[in-house]
């Protein structure tokens, strides 16, 4: 049975040594003293490893069951969900007005990584509620907020997002679900939505569905889509629950993973709904959820990689197999542990250097969201908006790959469900798909974000890299191992951007054919930058005479690995990008 240990020390390192959150001028950050965040992370870590992690395999094995319209979650989920509610873990970073704890998003994200790593399927129930609540918070009337948010913040009621229909996923303009005005301010919502995570279950008194639908007579396509609040049970004026609404779960999907989360076909049969935000502006309102959700999904990629790595590492230390080529390292035993073998180390270091780099990247992104939401920092908002598809696409692609590598360390045992490594891979797989498949993220990055506001956000990113390199030019610890590779990688990224500018105007396909590679190229440069920053922080701690030199030396060694062995991918991505549209577009569809 796999286990999970909360990486509190590593999270603290990023929050304090690297991001230096407590001295940052973002409102609320002054509360983020190291002792405080350590206490929160320790407490959350305990729940993650002791309550959620043991239920992970249970959720996978039992799955959710639909019987007579009611979905039964796996054994133990309900109790664990009560513990999450009681501990106030469901609205850590949401406003106090409706019962939240008002902590910064960066801390909520650090906690979220732990919950996700311990049990992704379980954590989705509250994650989706958080997203739906955020949308109501941003676009709801005062009345709507007062009606729903207190219950949603506490997860007494949970939330969902309803976008996809059988014939349309990414292309929501094709949507058929309709919402007919009833003359009393409500709408009758009718249609079928699929892939609705947590669409129906037995852990909450009510479920608040946010549903995209078209109001008849509105504009064609995506411009005629509105967002509606459709509760499972209607809510009386006094907040008590009224009659059952016309929405039901028609089916639970059999999936590759995240069996503990109910993925539902939801049927709306004239269900009573209320407009959230403006008519025909549903996509805008939905995007409030989606941007947050995309960063949350990027987190899932990292989280599954982390827990898979922890278990692979333990196995590599315990399993005796073969001898080190340079001489026995366990002479008294029948064989040496796996970890003596160079290729096992290569595999583990790929994982470790990704996970730690990704964590820094994610928390940096979360910090920028705080800077934007709490501090009104438009530059931070622009940059994190640019980086959101990179966080989502790159971290989930790589995160999945790392779960596969972790599984590989176990040899045949990795393929047997009993050992739990298969579940990490199967669960991680979904993150590449939902909240916009990664190809769509790449399209968003290259087709929209890159040129946004005259390209000023990507220029700001390059400035950060350039300034870091300039400011640390004399730092001997960084120079050869970190700054040089970062400079080369960043040059590759610039060259790719230049290629798009020079060729994409004449032929958009010349840019779009390279969009996926660009997303990965960008991701590597971000992780390279994170490692350079982490190396700098580690070196500073060592220079200051830290009492824990092994920890910081390990950071430097792991960072050197990333720079030497992972970052060179940028040149390959550039080369692919520079091959342009022809290799991709020249074949007629009929000839594939």
């Amino acid at each position: 049975m796999p286990s999970y240990t909360a990486p509190t020390k590593d999270l603290q390192f990023v929050l304090h040594d690297v991001l230096k959150v407590s001295t940052h001028d973002t409102p609320g950050y002054n509360e983020l003293e190291a002792d405080f965040t350590a206490a929160v992370l320790d407490e959350a870590g305990k729940i993650a490893s002791e309550v959620l992690a043991p239920l992970n395999v249970v959720g996978d094995t039992e799955g959710c069951v639909l019987e007579n319209g009611v979905v039964r979650t796996p054994k133990g989920f309900k109790d664990a969900f009560e513990q999450m509610k009681e501990g106030g873990w469901t609205a850590l970073d949401l406003p106090e007005q409706y019962g939240g704890q008002n902590m910064p998003y960066v801390l909520g994200t650090a906690v979220g990584e732990m919950f996700s790593a311990a049990n992704q399927a379980f954590t989705m129930y509250q994650g989706l509620t958080h997203g739906a609540a955020s949308a109501i918070l941003a676009h709801g009337t005062e009345d709507q907020k007062a009606t729903y948010l207190p219950y949603m913040f506490s997860c007494q009621w949970t939330g969902t997002m309803n976008l996809t229909e059988p014939h349309c996923g990414t292309d929501l303009g094709l949507m058929r679900t309709k919402a007919e005005p009833q003359g009393d301010g409500s709408y009758a919502v009718t249609g079928q939505k699929i892939f609705i995570s947590a669409g129906e279950h037995d852990m909450a008194e009510n479920i608040i569905h946010l549903v995209l639908a078209k109001i008849p007579g509105g504009p064609e396509g995506i411009k005629g889509v509105s967002l509606f609040i459709v509760p499972k049970f209607l809510v009386n004026d006094d907040g008590s629950l009224g009659e059952r609404n016309g929405v039901s779960c028609g089916k639970i999907e059999e999936k590759m993973g995240i069996h503990g989360n109910s993925t539902c076909v939801m049927n709306y049969d004239g269900a009573k709904g209320w407009l959230l935000g403006e008519e025909h502006k549903g996509m805008r309102a939905m995007f409030t959820m989606m941007n947050e959700a995309r960063i949350g999904v990027g987190m899932q990629g990292l989280a599954q990689a982390e827990v898979a790595y922890q278990n692979a590492l333990e196995y590599a230390r315990d399993r005796l197999q073969g001898r080190a080529v340079t001489g026995d390292e366990n002479p008294d035993g029948p064989a040496d542990p796996l970890i003596v073998h160079p290729d096992i180390r290569r595999n583990l270091l790929d994982q470790k250097s990704f996970v730690e780099g990704a964590r820094a990247f994610l928390l940096w992104g979360a910090k920028m969201i705080d800077q934007s939401h709490r501090g009104g920092d438009e530059a931070a908002e622009g940059l994190v908006s640019l980086l959101t598809p990179v966080i989502k696409g790159f971290l989930t692609d790589e995160g999945f790959d790392m779960t596969i590598q972790a599984q590989q360390v176990y040899g045949g045992h990795g393929y047997i469900e009993e050992w739990g490594m298969s579940q990490f891979a199967r669960d991680a797989r979904i993150a590449m798909i939902y909240e916009g498949a990664n190809g769509v993220q790449a399209l968003d990055l290259v087709g929209r974000k890159l040129a946004q506001d005259g390209g000023k956000h990507v220029m700001a990113f390059f400035d950060i890299v350039k300034n870091f390199i300039k400011d640390n030019a004399d730092n001997e610890a960084l120079k050869d191992d970190f700054l040089e590779p970062l400079k080369a990688a960043s040059k590759d990224l610039q060259a790719a951007g230049m290629f798009f500018m020079q060729n994409g105007m004449k032929n958009p396909n010349a840019a779009l054919a390279g969009s996926y590679d660009f997303m990965h190229l960008f991701g590597h440069v971000c992780l390279g930058l994170m490692w350079a920053e982490m190396a700098k922080a580690a070196q500073e701690a060592l220079d200051a005479g830290t009492t824990d030199p092994d920890f910081y030396q390990t950071k430097l060694a792991t960072g050197r690995y990333y720079m030497a062995r992972r970052l060179p991918a940028t040149a390959m991505h550039l080369k692919r990008i520079e091959s342009g549209a022809d290799p991709v577009m020249s074949l007629e569809a009929a000839h594939f």
Copy 2:
């Protein structure tokens, strides 16, 4: 429900246009006229798509069930297995003396790809029998051959390989299963073996287990391992079945995939066994099976990628979603098909260019095995021995990646089991692990094969590449798009080999730390060479005025894609290799 279409035309292209098998001087190849191979492939393709493919999902859903020591295979498997036997498909390339059809291995491999693509779990039952029979053929006494082979060739009896024990997989020297001489020429075999594919099932009258065990008093470690024939039912002198032997299935593993194949824990309790080959030379005998098995596993990687690609392509043509950025391509429909989008094409072309390149590589390898076995060609034997870990490791890693990409084309539907794409990925995953995990393949390649016979086989490989480039230097169709990239990639491979030579002597870890990258680097160069050869063949057909220009133009376009967009990976692998041992070895195990 996914489907499978036999790629007969593509197989014929490789066999005849590229490898020109029927005019090759290998004994038996003169029979491989295009009409003949087409007839065999058509017939096999029919069985694959009509009989085996429809059972693929059934096998995944039902799995195998162990009840009272008896394993029940999924519904329909038994009937399909009878059809395989009746059609003579179980010993296509085995000698006539014992009932085989004596066809070249290259044709057996082409047929095998289809069966594997249609239903990997099912095809393993006969694949393992083929391997066990080959070992008896190579190392058995005349008596053993006469006793077992006629039944095994026909799959009336099936076979297994028993290597792994709970505490040892790769490191077989740790083995505990023992075989005690009984004084009558037989041995009493006692111990537990795990991960035994097809270890117990209901499709054959008898199961012939080949079991590695130690004879007490023999040499320590791997040098004291012998191979034994242990039948499930003892065989009487007249060939009839006698009493049940002391071997039983204790458990079936729950796995990530290949549910249709029973993966058994086998308990040997003083079971009667007979030595196969010499005492303490068990590994040598087992390697007869393993080399063949490794190529067969490489084939599985390609095969799953092929069937996944076929389905992804169909989906990309059918599913309407979004509009082409350069103008509607399906103006009368509500949206354009997915295949208009550059990133979907990038995804599909990654798959297509891999599958077709891998197929050529695999069949080239199979042809060299024929040259060796039928023609006594030592150079071919040496080269295919060098390339076996590349075929196994590279084709299964990439094959799996391609099933993941194919799944991605489906978006959310790819994650739902009903659509079948998840199964391709889950089934393909095992191929990276069994018959020697891919890290072990990389070790075999760099630690053993590369320097074998003074490095002459890798030199021979470079000569093939060099001569191809030289011989075609004036070919305008090849020059820029094929020869230049091939030359650059081959130079990267040589530089990597040079790095190993210069650094590996002083520090073996400097080579081993780069072994995995070297395996992939080598794989890409092989596929680059294959694409250059296929391009040449395609151009020749076009120049000769073929009646099917689209087919050959498509080969050229797909090859150009591989050279432009996939082959640049070689420079990245070289860079990683050249970072040497330090990044991988510097961290102490305790500090990971």
